[in-house]
């Protein structure tokens, strides 16, 4: 009753009451603190992105002439030009196995490094180290270490495992190595922090009830870890999918590792065909969204709920 009276009396006349009602819904002047971040997000992310999408419908005269199709010429070129479209397959062939490997490999490592033991901090630091190396240094190191004259080949020849130096770099495998070196620590970091978010007493309870190692993992840990696994897979995939410098430096830029980002940059920097570059970039985003959606679909079929900790 009293509430209604207050509302009616202050319907339009008193601004204080309006402010009060807005504040009840969570709107007041302190929301202004959000404004700078919003401006940056709109001006530097939303606007360029929409502009880029608009640009894809303004194909250059050359593209239009070659592929026809009016404003859709860029998309037609993307799908019909095998030189461009093959890069989708080349990228997937690189990114999917690497992402799966990185996630699967970091689960046991995260488990082993979960317990407290001497030298844990040192080991964790070592695992995380490659994140700071960056792709460019990793590429340079791989070229020297795994090159034809490098220590790796030299060692393998010395122990008579091989006769001729194996080509580790400047091909598909060079990029795979570089992606594992930079992506594995990242996956490990994420998974071990999700793992530590799982309340250990849940597993202890399963142990008390007599579940063996395999059952504890399959029935207790894995369902609780599933959201973290989904996120990690997505992020590692994104990392591997957008591979760019290493594809050029340790890969075979005109052959097995002619990935989409290389094509996009090639159109941008060397042909100055901004519409086509934007088209490739937008298609990259779309393909990624499809993969992310698939991962989330898988994740939604798993257990949803609290993991006991703040994972």
């Amino acid at each position: 009753m009293s509430v209604r009276t207050i509302r009616r009396s202050g319907a339009g006349t008193s601004s204080a009451s309006l402010r009060h009602r807005l504040a009840e819904r969570g709107i007041d002047t302190s929301l202004l603190m959000l404004v700078p971040a919003l401006i940056f997000a709109l001006a530097l992310f939303i606007y360029p992105f929409s502009y880029g999408i608009g640009l894809t419908f303004q194909p250059s005269a050359a593209t239009q002439q070659a592929w026809g199709g009016g404003i859709f010429a860029n998309y037609i070129a993307f799908f019909k030009d095998s030189f461009v479209f093959d890069s989708v397959w080349l990228t997937m062939r690189l990114a999917l196995p690497v992402a799966v490997f990185n996630v699967l490999a970091s689960i046991p490592v995260a488990f082993k490094l979960r317990h407290r033991f001497r030298g844990k901090k040192l080991l964790t630091t070592l695992v995380v180290l490659p994140i700071t190396l960056g792709t460019v240094l990793t590429a340079q190191g791989l070229l020297i270490f795994a090159g034809r004259q490098g220590w790796l080949n030299r060692f393998l020849i010395q122990i008579h495992l091989i006769d001729q130096p194996i080509q580790f770099v400047n091909n598909y495998w060079g990029v795979v190595f570089s992606l594992v070196i930079s992506g594995f620590p990242f996956a490990f970091l994420l998974i071990s922090s999700y793992l530590s978010g799982i309340d250990p007493s849940i597993e202890a309870a399963a142990k008390v009830m007599g579940a063996n190692w395999h059952q504890r993992f399959r029935r207790v840990i894995l369902p609780l870890l599933a959201p973290g696994l989904a996120t990690t897979s997505i992020l590692t995939f994104v990392l591997a999918f957008s591979v760019f410098p290493s594809a050029r430096l340790v890969g075979d830029a005109m052959g097995a590792t002619r990935v989409m980002s290389l094509m996009a940059f090639w159109a941008f920097g060397e042909q100055n065909d901004y519409p086509m570059a934007s088209t490739i970039a937008v298609m990259m985003g779309l393909i990624e969204l499809v993969v992310i959606a698939l991962v989330l679909l898988w994740r939604s079929s798993m257990y949803k709920g609290s993991s006991g900790g703040k994972g």
Binding site: L31, P108, V136, G141, I144, G150, Q215, G309
Partner: protein, 315 residues
């Protein structure tokens, strides 16, 4: 092993409700030894596999690192285990030839500018996201998440096109602006959980005692937030110094950061510069990053990035 005993037990004696009865202790010798709190000395095969894989990873890692360092000091190094003799001449050559002083200065200026702006813009937003409910909160959170989730090159190319259209191409401003795009969301993402775990009653008490919002921020929250801000800044620093794609798309000769300069040297027309010159630049880059990493690890635990970590207790 143990569970099968339990289920056998439950099925053979249906009169007993299985939940009330503690499972009979497994009678094998191994688990009896475990129960006393000892660990078996022989590790499981999976453990060996994990350690072997880790060892292979580290051999690659250390091989990569050491070979770059050796290469950067080696005078002629072609067909042998080690170079003939060592010298630092590659460093002085690289320093002069590439204008390393300028490149490092650019890198530091960009990193500093990005950190300051990202913290100033990101922390207030993170505070609101952590503490308040307001309309469209989910949409806004998603908006802040997107640039971190998307690969840089997908939004980098349209962004770079816009930068060139505004005549900002190849300038320092453009490099700073593009690096802000992933950095601000990153600060928001790391600071939001950090603010959530600060007890809100402290602020309430200050506000009840008559402190204004600005005062609450400067006198109450700031001191509490300093560790979080420090951690976020160091992470942004690492990201910005290491960011290749976005910087590469908009930078020019006078605004190249260290990574981009190394890449350009490696891919320069005519097979690139001498390998050792690039190696010495890469070593300088790695040393910079490692100093940052060592400082960073003094303040934050690496697993703290996603969730606040509760140390798992020994079982």
């Amino acid at each position: 092993m143990a569970t099968s005993t339990v289920s056998d037990d439950a099925t053979t004696t249906p009169g007993r409700p299985p939940t009330d009865v503690p499972p009979p202790p497994p009678a094998t010798k191994r688990s009896a030894a475990r129960a006393r709190g000892e660990r078996s000395l022989a590790a499981a095969p999976t453990t060996w596999l994990v350690w072997a894989a880790m060892a292979a990873f580290f051999i690659f890692l250390i091989g990569i690192l050491v070979s770059v360092v050796v290469d950067s000091f080696g005078k002629p190094w072609f067909d042998s285990w080690l170079p003939d003799h060592f010298s630092t001449s590659w460093y002085s050559d690289a320093w002069d030839q590439f204008g390393m002083a300028h490149i490092i200065a650019v890198t530091l200026i960009v990193a500093a500018a990005v950190i300051v702006v990202a913290v100033l813009v990101g922390v207030p937003a993170a505070y609101l996201l952590a503490r308040r409910k307001f309309p469209l909160k989910r949409t806004i959170t998603l908006l802040f998440l997107l640039p971190v989730l998307m690969p840089p090159i997908t939004y980098g190319i349209p962004l770079a096109t816009v930068m060139y259209n505004f005549g900002l191409g190849r300038t320092l401003t453009a490099v700073i602006l593009v690096n802000l795009v992933p950095s601000i969301p990153f600060v928001i993402m790391t600071m939001t959980p950090f603010i959530e775990q600060i007890n809100p009653t402290i602020e309430d008490a200050a506000r009840m005692s008559g402190a204004s919002m600005a005062k609450v921020f400067t006198k109450i929250l700031m001191p509490l937030l300093i560790p979080g801000i420090l951690a976020a800044s160091i992470l942004v620093l690492v990201r910005t110094v290491g960011m290749f794609e976005l910087t590469f798309l908009v930078s020019g000769p006078s605004s190249d950061t260290l990574v981009v300069a190394i890449y350009r040297a490696m891919t320069a027309a005519g097979g690139g510069e001498a390998r050792q010159l690039i190696s010495s630049m890469a070593v300088v880059y790695t040393l910079t990053m490692m100093v940052i990493l060592v400082i960073a690890l003094r303040f934050i635990s690496p697993t703290q990035l996603v969730a606040r970590v509760k140390e798992t207790r020994e079982d």
